[in-house]
Amino acid sequence: MSAQWKEIMLVINFLFIPTVWCLYEDQMGLFDWKQDFVGKVEYLHWDQSPAAMGKRLFVGTEKNVVASINAYNGSLAWRRVFEESVRGRVDRLLYQTNILISVLAGGRFVRSWQMGTSLLLWETSLLADDSIRASAVFTSREKADSFLVVTAHALYNIKTNDGKKIWETNLPKSDTANRWFIGVNEDDTYALVGVTPETDVVMATVNQEGTVISQNSVPAPWINDDTSCQIVKGSYFVCYVPSKQALQVLRLSGGKNFISTSLRDLGFEATSETSIEIPSTGVTGFETEIILRVSRNHMSVLTIEGNSLKIVKNMPQVSAVQIVENEDTSYIITLQKSLKEPSVSITGYELKSGQESAELSQKIPFANSHGLPLKVNVMMFTRRRDSKIGCKVAILSEDDALQVIQKPGRVSWRREEALADILAIEMVDLPVSENQAKFEDEFGSHDDVFVMFIKRLKAQLSQLQSFVIKMVERLQGLRHPAPTLSDEDIDQEEEEVEEEEDLIRDEFNLHKVIVAVTKAGKIFGIRSQTGKIVWQHYLPDLSPFDKYNRQTMLLFVQRTTAHFPNPPQCAILGKNKRTGNALIFTINPALGVTIAGTPPNGLDLGYKVVQASLLNEVDEHFLKGIILMDTQGKIHVYPESVQISSSLPSLYLHLTDLDTNIITGYRIVNTNDKGLKADEVWNINLQKSQQTITQVVCKRAIEHVHSQGRVLGDRSVLYKYLNPNLMAVVAEGEEPPSPGTHKGPSKFFSIYLVDGVTGHIVFHVNHKRCHGPINTVHSENWVVYSYFSEKHRRHEIAVLEMFEGKEQSNSTAFSSLSPPPQPLVLRQSYIFSSPLSAMATTVTEKGLTNKNIIISLKFGGLLSLPKALLDPRRPAMPSQESMEEGVIPYIPEIPIHTEAIINYNRTLSRVDGIYTGPAGLESTSLILTYGLDMFYTRVMPSKMFDVLKEDFDYVLIGSILFIMILVSILTQKLAAKRALSRAWK
């Protein structure tokens, strides 16, 4: 008996081992691509070592990454990704000739890297508090053999070659100060300034042996964590105070108080952007000048002479400045964005004389979609040939892009680092080709016969025309388009000509445009088959909604490509950086052009939005409306041409208040005098005293469910509970330690399945001694979620599946107002042996194909797991019936087959999310993971059932068919002959 089971299980196992996902070696990269990013650059150094002078860039980024970038093509030479938490935060990246040192997590980890290979040379750990950023500086400007690190507890002097501590000193007020500045004096003493927010600054002078020579504290009630400050010449401490619109200067040796200089007195008008600029290397300590950013595009270089500020050079219209030294001459490098054309002029001035240096000045093309250049890092060198000075320039712009100029006048490469912070993503169909569109137009309309005949003729004429044009082109050979300098051309300058033509839909609708909205306020259109950027827009005012430390932006597909001749349309909803109101921006995702009537920087709606949703209602041009609720509870519809009165009053919205854990439902009604209004109709209270709502997961609107039920072994049907209004609400909390038992606090979480129309809690489940991060997938009639079990110290995945029962209450439509009886909720949980970072489920065109769960594992794999393994009906004791149905017997652990890792050896770091989209082929689902890396591929959960195999033998089938026909004709003839001869007998 048991042997029989084994065999059956073996067979079932083989059935589910996904052989189709395995790629042949030569298929690598054929259906997928991967892009590596580093994130927004905070620290940038040119490699100045004699061996690889100017050949590499070293960067430290906001995404806790230290990397080396190849300066010739912008590829990553190496990348070190640190922990996502505060323990991986890069506080400083120090670089000098042959030394690259990173200071992480407030000084807890100080590491030295081998520059060429990223091997760890040494690591040392300092006593630190990771909530306070460490400061670090080399002890001398050149060829330093040690460097200083100041942590929350002490000042350390560390040797650069082996990481040994030379000395450490406790600093005054180190318990209250939470920011430290270090300056190196010309007499080789070190000046330290500690800032205690809203109270005072403490100054200390430390000599080379590590003893505090002098210390002093000065009250500074205006100072806080965001105040921009700098130590100048090792003897002055300068801060800009936005509330006073003034620069405050303190002499470090014996200064008793700050001397205030108003910006007005210097002749500047203060703006919200006014601050003291930190250089792109991120390391300060040796400055003799102050670079003051007056506004977005107005910079000024100041210096201090005898306690008073003096303007060295005032540069209106300049947005990025660097002071760089080459062979004892200091230069000011300025970047000025042209107002008329998409270009930036780089100008170099000698600092002392103020003379423009012709050798450094150049003009480069710079697309408007990069915003303004914000920071610049120039590597200057003197050419041996003609002893002229030259430079290589790295530019960081407002859109987080990094660009490098190797040869004057031309950008060698750029990295769009904004893509490391994608907040919203969609895949949009490409438009059909022109001829096909005409066909659609022809058959879609209901004109009279004559008009249709004319259309037919026209369509055929145009087909002939395009055929002739194609033939002529083929005869003439390839022609290059005439060069014109416009914004788009710059982006496509380097792209090959052949790629420009095929932005039309392919046969199976596999190629799409990926629309990505990033945290930096930049929107990208990416070609899905290659990962190349088709178009990009930078909106300087666009910023994410930022509530409860969660950053969100919304992207709605208002009209798909299906409604020819109306172009597809996407709307991006975010917050206006300046006003705080909602900002909406509409775009044609296929071509990347803004929709007529939308301001180029987005439309400020004039109110703050608390809830937004895409409507099903369309206007006469098939444009779906967006419904918005403002802080006053008023309802708006964008665009206003969309009439929603026909669907009223059956339109419902809900709001989740995280402060009270109350979810409130609203019904939208039309009042005749005041327009649309939201009436509160239900609310549920999820007990804020115990827990906090962390997620509300709704089903995807594009999802189709093909099968209404599951056929059981006895041929009866178990109907699914398919409530389209159902949402899964996840709330996490912590139980206080109970005094009776000696247990510490234990975390728990609950999942509520709530009907979004009536507020009916369909089901609620609680997991004790478990905690997040919880990844939730909600689709069809099931919810799959992953969590960490504190009790067993392992990751687990649970599934809830809802069934109506053996009878369906209403087979035609679902109404939340007359719901089916309480569904049967089946649930099961499994051990998952690897930590995971994101989950999603595959979507296909008609929902016919089996579902797979795509799981991104922390170790870098992307697992495609059949949903059949996460089926709560898996029986512990398989019966005849369950076998007939094909349910896999219960095994507590979910296996991670290496064949099911769809990104094979391409490790994905720090996956933020997984987007899945349908392709034109029912069998295929497109997958894009985003985060620090972007990876695109496609999966076929039920194998390729709708496509013939590549090695399909057409010849054999064709010839067999031909022979069969031949034989049937022959036999017919023979039979007729025979019948005739028989008749004669």
């Binding site: 549920i684 009536t758 719901p819 949980s829």
Partner: protein
């Protein structure tokens, strides 16, 4: 599931007993014997005016024992209000306080016409969490769809209400024990099977070996003949 309980003297008596027991076992929150005041409103144009409909007495959360006791008869006024709300596409809203006496409510609604056409035949569901706090309330009527029936006033004499109580259930945990048990059982069975079959090689496979041997014998005996035939 409690059957619809009619408003009778017995019902009231039971309710009082339940009330008392609720007072007695106040700290026994998990069993959750308690009384909740149910308020309702016939809402037209979003103006909700709540009035007391009755009390819901929950005797046991785990046992799903609860029933509804109306505060007063469904008056002619109420019928008129319901009719009016029903004809103007109004709502019938219900709420219960989160705690008895609290000003925080959880509420729900149905179209007023649904209540009207069901002639006061409704089913309440109250959701509690594991410590016995009220999470939410919902209501359905049978039938739940409005078709535009005209219901005679005599049908509105009393509430035909059932109350259901739902408490948060514990989440599933990986069932390792059953699986291990099953493995052990399989192992034991296999061992047993192995012991049974301790016959010799020939004993087990004689049925395969004998025909092969016979065939070979035939073949070898035929060989010389065949050779002879060839000559």
């Amino acid at each position: 599931m409690a059957a619809p309980i009619k408003y009778t003297a017995v019902g009231l008596f039971l309710a009082i007993i339940a009330d008392l027991s609720g007072l007695v076992h106040l700290d026994d929150e998990f069993e959750g014997s308690r009384t909740l005041t149910l308020e309702h409103s016939f809402t037209i144009d979003g103006n909700a005016i709540f009035s007391k409909r009755g009390t819901v007495v929950i005797r046991s959360l785990k046992g799903n024992k609860a029933h509804f006791t109306p505060a007063s008869d469904f008056t002619r006024e109420d019928i008129n209000l319901l009719k009016k709300a029903s004809s103007q596409k109004g709502l019938y809203q219900l709420r219960v306080p989160v705690k008895e006496g609290s000003q925080q409510y959880v509420s729900t609604f149905i179209p007023a016409c649904a209540l009207y056409e069901s002639s006061l035949n409704d089913q309440l569901t109250i959701n509690f969490d594991q410590s016995g706090e009220v999470l939410g309330l919902s209501v359905v009527t049978t039938p739940g769809i409005c078709v535009g029936l005209n219901v005679p006033a005599s049908n509105f004499s009393d509430w035909k209400t059932t109350v259901e109580v739902m408490q948060t259930v514990s989440g599933p945990v990986p069932d390792t024990q059953t699986y291990i048990d099953k493995m052990n059982r399989d192992k034991v069975e296999k061992e047993k099977g192995g012991q049974n079959d301790n016959r010799s090689f020939f004993g087990k496979y004689w049925m395969y070996i004998v025909p092969v041997v016979i065939l070979m014998m035939i073949a070898t005996s035929q060989d010389p003949n065949a050779g002879g035939g060839g000559r």
